[in-house]
C-alpha cells in the first residue's frame, strides 16, 4: 500500500502560522454553536425548568422541583405514549418497505430521468400538510371512489371502513413522511460505485447476493438517516391522528397539544415533551447500537 504524507497535521510539517490562526476553526464553528445554544440548548433548559414548576396559569408557575409531574404524566398517558412509538415504528417500517424499492428504482433504473422522478415524488408535498391529509378522508370515504365500487361488487362487507382506524393513522404517517425515507436512501444508492457491482458479478455473485452483500450494506447509512428522519417526527405527529383517527388512536402529540393549549398546564406539557424526547432518544440509540452505528457512520463518511 502506498503511504501518503499527511501535510495537514501539525506534527508532520512545521509551517509558520500567523498568530491567532489556531483560533480560526473555533471562529468558524461559532455560528453553529450559537445556533445550537439559541435554538436547542436554551429551549431544552426552559422546558426542563418549566416541567419542574407548579402553579396555574393565572397566578403563575413557580419553581418547586416537583419531579412527581413526570410520574403523573407517564402514569396517565403511558398508553398514548407507547401507542405513538408503535405507530411511529410501524410507519417507519412501511416507509422503508415502500421507499427503498422506489429509491432503488430511481437510482439504478430511471436513467437520465432521475431528477424528473424525484421531482414527481416531491410534487404532492408542495401542498399543505393538513390539506393533503384531509384529502385522504375523501379518497378513503366509506362509500368513496375506492371503497364504494368494491362494496358494490360485494368484495367488501358494507360495514368495512379504513378511516377512523389505526391503519388509517399509520397509513397517513407513512404517506406524509415517505420523502424523508426515499431521499436519503436515494442519495446513498446513488453513491454506490457501479464498478463495485461489476466486480461483484465478475466474482460470480448472483443478483440476489450482489444486492444483499454489496448494495444493501452500502446503502445502510441512507436507511439509517431515513429511519431517523421518519421515526422521530412520525412518533410526535398529531395531525394524522386528529384527522384520520378514530376513538382510540390518540397520539402523544395530541395530548401535549391539549395540555398546552386547552389546559394551559405548561409543566405537564413540558414534562410530556421531555419524556417523549427521552423515549425517542432511547429508541434511536437502541436502534443505532443494534445496527452498529460505527460501521454505518464510517461507511457514510467514505
Amino acid at each position: 500500500m502506498e503511504r501518503t504524507v499527511r501535510t495537514d497535521l501539525p506534527g508532520l510539517t512545521r509551517r509558520r502560522r500567523r498568530p491567532g490562526a489556531s483560533l480560526a476553526p473555533y471562529w468558524l464553528i461559532l455560528p453553529g454553536w450559537l445556533w445550537l445554544a439559541a435554538f436547542f440548548i436554551t429551549p431544552v433548559i426552559v422546558m426542563v425548568s418549566l416541567s419542574l414548576q407548579t402553579g396555574d396559569f393565572i397566578d403563575g408557575f413557580r419553581q418547586t422541583w416537583h419531579v412527581a409531574t413526570y410520574a403523573d404524566v407517564v402514569h396517565t398517558y403511558h398508553v398514548q405514549l407507547v401507542r405513538s412509538l408503535l405507530y411511529g415504528a410501524a410507519a417507519t417500517v412501511c416507509c422503508a418497505l415502500i421507499g427503498y424499492p422506489v429509491a432503488y428504482w430511481i437510482a439504478f433504473r430511471a436513467g437520465r430521468h432521475k431528477s424528473v422522478f424525484l421531482f414527481v415524488l416531491l410534487l404532492p408535498f408542495f401542498v399543505s400538510f393538513v390539506i393533503r391529509t384531509q384529502s385522504w378522508n375523501v379518497v378513503l370515504a366509506d362509500h368513496g371512489v375506492l371503497l364504494g365500487p368494491l362494496k358494490d361488487l360485494g368484495l367488501l362487507s358494507d360495514g368495512f371502513h379504513v378511516l377512523a382506524t389505526p391503519y388509517a393513522v399509520i397509513g397517513g404517517l407513512t404517506y406524509n413522511f415517505m420523502p424523508f425515507m426515499v431521499l436519503p436512501v436515494y442519495v446513498a444508492l446513488e453513491r454506490v460505485d457501479p464498478k463495485v457491482i461489476e466486480a461483484s458479478t465478475d466474482l460470480y455473485a448472483s443478483r440476489t447476493a450482489t444486492f444483499t452483500r454489496v448494495v444493501l450494506p452500502l446503502s445502510l447509512p441512507g436507511v439509517f438517516a431515513g429511519v431517523l428522519l421518519t421515526f422521530v417526527p412520525a412518533s410526535a405527529d398529531y395531525v394524522n391522528a386528529g384527522i384520520l383517527g378514530g376513538p382510540s388512536t390518540t397520539m402523544i402529540g395530541n395530548i401535549i397539544q391539549t395540555e398546552y393549549f386547552t389546559n394551559l398546564d405548561y409543566p405537564g406539557a413540558a414534562a410530556l415533551s421531555f419524556v417523549l424526547m427521552g423515549a425517542l432518544l432511547l429508541a434511536v440509540f437502541t436502534y443505532a447500537r443494534t445496527l452498529g452505528t460505527d460501521e454505518v457512520l464510517q461507511a457514510a463518511a467514505r
Binding site: I58, G60, Q63, V79, D142, P247, F261, Y266
Partner: protein, 423 residues
Amino acid sequence: MPQYSTPFVPRPRTLPPAGPSRRGLLRAAFGAAALAPLAACSVPGARVHVPTGQAEIARAVSGFWAGRKRSGKLDFVNYTQYIDVDPADQSRHPTLAAFTRESGIEVTYSELIDDSASWFGKIQPEFASGQGIGYDLMVVGGDSYLTKYIQLGYLAPLDHSRLPHFARYGGAAFKNSSFDPGNVYTVPWQSGMTGIGYDPALVGRKITSWQDLLDPRLRGRVGMWNDAVQMGNVALLAVGVDPETSTPADWRKAAAWLRRQRDAGMVRSYSTATYQSSLQRGDLAASLVYSGDVFQANQSGSKLEFVIPDEGGLLWTDNLCIPSTAAHPVDALTYMDYAYRPEVAARISETVQFVCPVPDAQRIVARDAAAATGRRRSVLDALSTSPLVFPTTSDEAKLRHLRVLDEEEEKQWNALFEPIYQA
C-alpha cells in the same frame, strides 16, 4: 462465512481515557452552569384586579377612554369565513367597505383565528410582555378563554354611551351572557346553537333526543367532538341537567353518559376538524353539529336535518372585544356600534348564516329576498324563515347556556371529559 462489508471499514483504535481529563472537567463545569438557570426561570402570574359593581366599572370605563381619539385606522381579527363577502370577489367585504366610506376609518381585516385555545396560546405571550397584539378588535368565543382574558385584564371595558345601536337593536337573549354580565367587555358578534345534525336517509327515522345517539342501529356512525367545553355541556343536557347550574356531581353523571356511548362503540371519531365533511359524505349518520353547519351543507346540496333535542340544545355566542393594548380603540368601538345596525347585521347573516344577535335583521333579510331573483332569492327566503338563524320563541325556550367555570372547576371538568375523547 466471510463478511464482505467489513474489510472496507477498518475500526479505528481509541485509547482509553486516563483519569479525569481536562475535557471531562470542562464538561462537568458546563453541566453545573446549565443547571443554574433551571431554578431561575419561572412564569409570573398575571391576575389583575377585575372591577366589580357599577361605580367601579364606571370608573374603569372613564379611566380607559379619557382622552382617546379616533385615529382613522382599525385592525380587526376574526375567525375564518365569519363576515359577509362579495359574491363576485371572496376577498371583498361590502359592510367593511361601507363602514370605511361612511366613517373614513380604514379597516385592516384578517381571519387568523382558528379556535379559542390556539389563538389564546398565540397572543398571550404578546399580552404578557405588554407590547400589544397589533389588533384593535377581535372575536372571542364565549368560553373559559373569555373569562381568562377578563381576569388577566387583557380587555378594555366598553363605553356603552357610544354603543346606542347595541342598546337599541341587540337581542335580549344575547345580551348579558353569564361570561360577561352586563356586557362590560364584550358584545355578541354571532351566536350559534349546538344540536344534532343527521342524514334522515341513513338514520331512517326522526332524531328527537340526545338518547338517540345511543341507538345501537347507529353504532360506529356517530360523530362527537374533541372539545371538552361542548362535549361536557351537551352531555349535561343529555342527562337532564341545565349546564349553567350544574354541580360536579352532575358532571360525573354526564361523563358516565359519554363513556357509556363510547364503550358501546357508538362513536366513529371525536373530531371537530372532520365531522362536517364526514356527515356530508355519509361516513357519519349523525353528529354533534353547530346550527350554521347544516344550513351551509344543505345550501351545497346535502339533505341534512338539524334538531334541538327535547332535553335542550346549547346556545353559545362569539363576542367582539377590544384588547386593552389596542392602538385604535375608539375606531373599534365605532365599528362595534356599526355592526348592530340591522342592515349591517342582515348583510353579515346573509353570508355566515349563524344565529343573528340582531332580531330586527330578519325583516331586512326578508326584504332583500323579495328584491332578489333566482337562486339567491331562494337562499335568502330560506334564511329569513330559518329557525337556525332567527330562532323561534319555542326554540329559544329549549336553548341553554354554557357552564361558566372558574380555574379549579375547569381543571376538574377537563379531567373528567378529556379522557373520553383522548383515549
